[in-house]
Structure formats: structure tokens, C-alpha cells
Symmetry: C2
DNA sequence: GTCTATAAACCGATAGAC
DNA sequence: GTCTATCGGTTTATAGAC
């Protein structure tokens, strides 16, 4: 039960931070939602709110990465998986009244110029996502440098679409972003070989 | 001098909101940076912080739109202008130590699920940007529906790249996002006509 | 580890003199 | 319109009993 308290704190804070941001979420609200006490928070996180936030950023960043990778793994090929990721993001947005998007984006913008340790934590998360995406594209046959460029563009499309969707309460930007992501990645696969048949074979089982 | 006070308040708040967010910026800090008094703020904005924030969102959103459109107008064609916009964003990020990015993104994420009037204000800004971009692509010969999809993808790329760049303190994501933006838009121009020579003519004067 | 009580600072907002 | 003083509430964080 003691260990549970720490987990409940992280989960509650994660849920609140991504909806209200870091500065917009009070410790009392976190404690209330986690059914925990002041003493528990400062017992597990002697550094207070910032130490909790650093843990939340790393934990929710990794959790979201695993979620996305699971969707990607379930797809028949890289491009189809990419399509599923954007479609899934749109579904979650609709299902949660545009509350659940990127778990760290709001906090990342808040701390980028105000809290160096937390900024570094968000950078670690984005770097990990970038490395994993790059490896995935590379293992599908795209050169390392191009794979990294593609990954950065795809993450940017996803993050930017989250902002537009949440602000306008519409999934339309996520749909357009997904189409663009598929287009740029498909283009990279297409230019892999001069022979268009070879490229077609690589993508032969894709869904979309 | 009285009118100046209102303008100083909006400018100071705009500068602070985009760096620290809405919840992370106190009224006293705004007053201090604007060299203004409590009474001035509540004189010009009887609704307090929220009314000031609504004004800041609309003003800075419009200002950024005009800035981007000026860059776009100065370019020889649509694709070259797009390239200039992303290159310019990267330059500003570097010049400001990754502080000056989108003027409303941080606030937009903060208020999306917590403050309906301010969320609506951010939606108005993004809708205006979307309409202007759509009109620009459409006047360059792309169909209205496709022009809108392209615009949403381009704005998402820019906004997402801002997050990644600020978090990682690197312009690399903005460069990759710019390349992707150019690629998807060029692709739309390329499929305008089956005749590749005609498409080449359309883009013949582009820089990049 | 958990609980209660509280410190010390800061928050947005307002009152009233001038 | 501007200034000073302050209200009432909330913030993060800590102290000390159990």
C-alpha cells in the first residue's frame, strides 16, 4: 500500500499536468485526486513539486512511447502503422473531449525557458522518441540521416496537430497531419530505389 | 501616455505568456515589466487577468500572422516563402535562446481544457491562420479542400517543431519540419497536372 | 509512513485617498 | 487616472504528534 501511494501520486499528477499544465495544477489538487497526504508527497519526493514533475515527465513520456510503439508493431508495415498512430490520436481526442493529447507537451512549453532541470527531462523524452522512430525507419531500409529527419517531422506533425485539435475542438488537423506524415514517409520509401516496382514491393502489404 | 499604458500591458503580458505560460505569469510581474500599476490594469481590463489574456491572444496571434505573411509575400513563390518561414523561425529561436516561438501555443495548451473563453480565443487565431494559408495555396492553383489540408499540416509542422526545438534547444526539428512542409506542398503542386513540365513552370522561380 | 496544523510567501483583486 | 495599502484566498513547504 505504501508503494501504491507513490504510483497514485505520479498517475494523478500526470493526468492533471497534461490537462492543466504544471503551473496550473496545485499540489493540493494532486493529493486530493491521488487520495494522499502532504507527508506522503514529501516522503517520496523530497524535492517537492519539481521532483514529482520530473518523475511524471519521464514516466508518462515512456508510457506514451510504449503505447505508440505497440500500435506501430501491430500494423503490417511502417506506413500503415504511422497511419494508425494518427488515427488513434484522433480517436482518443474525440473520446476524451479533447483533453488527452501529448502527456508532456503543455509542461514542455511551460518549462522550456523557466526550469532547466525539467526542460532537460522533456528533452530526454523527445530525444528517446526521436531515436526510436529513427531506428524504426532505418530498419525499414531508409538511411539513418533521412530516417531521423522523417522522425522529427512526424513527431512535429503529431505535436502540432494536438495543439490545433485541442484549441479548435476538431480532429480535422490530426487527419491532415496524418496524411502529410504518410505522404512524406511514403516519398522517402519511393525514392529508396529508382525502380518503382521495388518500392511498390516494399509497401505491398500496407493498409491505407 | 494613458493609451501607452494599455499597450505596454499587452506587450509585456504577451512576452511573458509565451515564455512562462498563463498560469506561470503573475499579474505583479506583468505590471512590473510594463511599468504600470494595479489600477491601470483593472481600468483597461475590468475583467482582470482573463480579459487581458484574451486581448493578448488575439493581438499576438494577429501580429504573428502578419509577420509570417510578410515573409511569404517577400518570396518569389509559395514554396520559397514556406521555406523562408521555417528558416526564419529557426533563426529567431537561436537568436532568442529558444524563448520566442509561437506567441500563443503555450497558453493554447494551458487553456484548452480549463478556460472556455480563452480556448475560443486561441481557436479564432488558429482558424484565421488556417483560412489565410488556405487562400494563399488556393490562389496558387491548388483546390480549396487540398489547400486547407496542406495549411493544417504546415501549421502543425511549425507548431510541433517549436515544441521540439524549445525542449531540445536545437533548430534541427525546425529544419526537418521545413523540409517536410516543402515536400508535401511541392507534391500538391506536382500532382496539379499530369504534365510535369507544367508543374515545373509553376515553380520555376523558387529559391530552395 | 501517516496524520494535523501551520508557517511564509504569493495569488488575483479591490478600496479609498489623492 | 494614479498611488498605497490591504483583503481574502491559495500556494508550496515544514513541524511535530502519533
Amino acid at each position: 500500500m505504501a508503494i501504491d501511494t507513490r504510483e497514485r501520486l505520479v498517475n494523478a499528477a500526470s493526468r492533471l499536468f497534461r490537462r492543466q499544465g504544471l503551473a496550473g495544477t496545485g499540489i493540493k489538487q494532486i493529493l486530493s485526486e491521488a487520495n494522499a497526504q502532504f507527508s506522503s508527497l514529501y516522503h517520496y519526493f523530497p524535492g517537492g513539486k519539481d521532483e514529482l514533475a520530473a518523475d511524471v515527465i519521464r514516466a508518462s513520456g515512456l508510457h506514451y512511447q510504449e503505447l505508440v510503439e505497440a500500435v506501430w508493431d501491430a500494423a503490417p508495415d511502417v506506413v500503415a502503422g504511422l497511419n494508425d498512430i494518427f488515427k488513434g490520436a484522433a480517436s482518443v481526442l474525440e473520446a476524451t473531449d479533447y483533453a488527452d493529447a501529448c502527456p508532456i507537451a503543455t509542461v514542455a512549453l511551460e518549462v522550456a525557458s523557466t526550469n532547466e532541470p525539467l526542460r532537460a527531462a522533456t528533452a530526454e523524452v523527445f530525444d528517446a522518441w526521436t531515436d526510436r522512430g529513427t531506428a524504426r525507419f532505418a530498419s525499414a531500409g531508409i538511411g539513418a540521416a533521412e530516417a531521423r529527419r522523417l522522425t522529427l517531422a512526424v513527431i512535429a506533425l503529431l505535436e502540432g496537430a494536438f495543439i490545433l485539435c485541442r484549441a479548435t475542438r476538431s480532429t480535422e488537423p490530426m487527419v491532415s497531419a496524418g496524411e502529410a506524415a504518410v505522404a512524406v514517409v511514403r516519398r522517402a520509401f519511393g525514392s529508396l530505389e529508382a525502380d518503382p516496382n521495388a518500392a511498390a514491393r516494399t509497401l505491398s502489404t500496407e493498409r491505407c
